[in-house]
């Protein structure tokens, strides 16, 4: 039985799609058969980040409405053969997602996949609700900034009250906090909330801290999930997060300001 993981945040632009791409790639790279679904109907982005936009023929909404089979719409990733992408429709809107339609697709995917990653749209409207409703686990992507933290808090409340698990009084959705765009130097200068600050407000187990990095933007533009960039700190941080998601215990690596080397100090004072 597949595990359904929603990547959500409330606020837009915090890194949900980047995270969905990297986490799904990380799981697939470890041999787990993984599907990643773009729930952002009307604002299709995941296929760009995954570099498969030119291979989209049918999409999520086509499958829901019975215009195409699931296997016709699923795109196999060119780099990882255990990773499949179900793209969003660019021409429809989010009302095309129905609870019954989404459930039907998830049930069918669950038969052959190990993990199903749902990339949620921003906001708390219909699209976001559909993405989270059937989830077993949730990765809440948060920036170290007050409005993002507030929105994540709101999303956590909705996860625990409006999801299928909540409505059926089942075991609650397992929550993970993923702090992205973290800059230890700015935290030290008091310009950014620290990991501790965010954890104190949200009280959710920490899955990982992804440092602010130029590599993320570069990777997105090239259509390569940043986790595949093994030299970038952001890629390594996502790799750690995937390991923790699978139950491994790994220390946090990128939450301290890197110590400057002897030569560096000599020349910069």
């Amino acid at each position: 039985m597949a595990k359904i993981i929603v990547v959500t945040s409330g606020k837009g632009g915090v890194g949900k799609t980047t995270t969905s791409a990297s986490i799904s790639s990380g799981l697939a790279a470890r041999g787990h058969k993984t599907a990643v679904i773009d729930f952002d109907v009307g604002l299709r982005n995941l296929d760009l980040v995954m570099n498969c936009e030119r291979r989209v023929v049918f999409d999520f909404v086509n499958v829901i409405q019975g215009e195409a089979g699931l296997n016709q719409a699923l795109i196999r990733d060119k780099r990882l053969d255990t990773l499949y992408i179900l793209p969003a429709s660019q021409t429809r809107d989010k009302d095309a997602l129905t609870k019954e339609g989404v459930e039907k697709i998830l049930v069918e995917l669950a038969k052959s996949f190990d993990y199903i990653i749902c990339d949620s749209p921003a906001g708390i409207e219909h699209g976001a609700m559909m993405a989270m409703y059937f989830a077993d686990e949730a990765i809440v992507v948060t920036n170290p900034e007050v409005s993002s933290v507030r929105d994540s808090d709101r999303i956590l409340g909705i996860l625990q009250s409006k999801s299928r698990r909540a409505e059926n009084n089942e075991e609650p959705i397992r929550e993970h906090l993923l702090l992205t765009r973290y800059d230890p130097q700015r935290v030290e200068n008091g310009q950014m909330l620290s990991v501790q600050d965010v954890q104190e407000i949200l009280s959710v187990p920490l899955l990982g801290v992804i440092p602010e990095s130029q590599a993320v933007l570069n990777a997105s533009n090239q259509g390569i999930p940043v986790i595949l960039d093994e030299k970038a700190p952001a890629g390594m941080a996502y790799e750690d997060a995937v390991a923790r998601l699978l139950g491994e215990d790994r220390p946090q690596r990128f939450i301290e300001v890197p110590k400057k080397g002897f030569l560096h100090r000599m020349f910069t004072g």
Partner: protein, 249 residues
């Protein structure tokens, strides 16, 4: 021409809905002599009050038949002792007809009373004490997130997880919070002014007791981030450190 006059009327008159509290004069049985004696005794006890306040006459709790009820005689006695009756609630078409003839409007009978919730012991004008039902406390272990609202409608609320900014916890009784309260905490929502809010770390946006509210200032003097008890004295909220709590920021 007619449009012009319409415009003038619209400018002068407006119909608006409003809700106001009104004292009800309940009559459970009527004997002219006894009624006059009782009513004048009440008026004599607080003449200023009775002169200023309008009353609604209610015959809902009247025991026995309202057939041929001498409402005009009753209203006459009220007028003699300067009780201003502004309306009648009778539930009997005959009595209502008479009341209208005396120029008084009639109001529909209170719906909740028709369902059999009448309390015959209520004296005229006296506030009814709340029913002494053992109240049940509600216990919350999960964090109360932004946008969520948790209500204990009958008793105390005990919160063992943080209340986030933008969340609301409400209780008819007291609120006990054993984790930071960063949202709003409203105790005594049904008007219990003796309700209190106890919290381990006061970081709330707003606190209220019995409808009296206050935004919380972020200064150590006002108990910010301290263990406090919030109480209502003379319509003013007071925030004091909990006994035994360390007074530090």
């Amino acid at each position: 021409m007619s449009t012009a006059s319409c415009a003038t009327t619209a400018a002068q008159v407006r119909f608006k809905g409003t809700v106001l509290t009104c004292t009800v004069l309940e009559v459970s049985q009527f004997d002219a002599v006894e009624f006059a004696r009782e009513v004048s005794a009440h008026v004599a006890s607080a003449p200023e009050f009775f002169r200023a306040v309008p009353f609604l006459l209610s015959l809902e709790s009247h025991t026995g038949s309202l057939q041929g009820f001498p409402i005009l005689e009753l209203l006459g006695i009220c007028a003699d002792v300067s009780l201003h009756v502004i309306g009648v609630r009778a539930g009997s078409p005959e009595v209502e007809q008479l009341a209208r003839s005396a120029g008084l409007p009639c109001l529909p009978v209170n719906a909740s009373r028709e369902r059999g919730e009448r309390r015959p012991d209520a004296a005229a004008g006296a506030a009814r004490p709340p029913e002494a039902v053992p109240s049940t406390a509600r216990l919350i272990r999960q964090p109360v997130r932004s946008g969520q609202q948790v209500i204990a409608p009958d008793g105390d609320l005990i919160v063992m997880a943080p209340v986030s900014a933008g969340a609301e916890v409400l209780a008819a009784g007291n609120i006990h919070a054993y984790a930071p309260v960063r949202g709003r905490a409203l105790a005594g929502i049904r008007g219990d002014t003796s309700a209190r809010i106890f919290c381990q770390s006061l970081e709330a946006e707003l606190v209220a007791i019995g409808g009296c509210y206050q935004v919380v200032e972020q200064t150590p003097d006002s108990g910010w981030r301290q263990a406090v008890v919030i109480e209502l004295f003379d319509d003013k909220l007071t925030i004091n450190p909990l006994p035994g709590a360390r007074a530090e920021g």
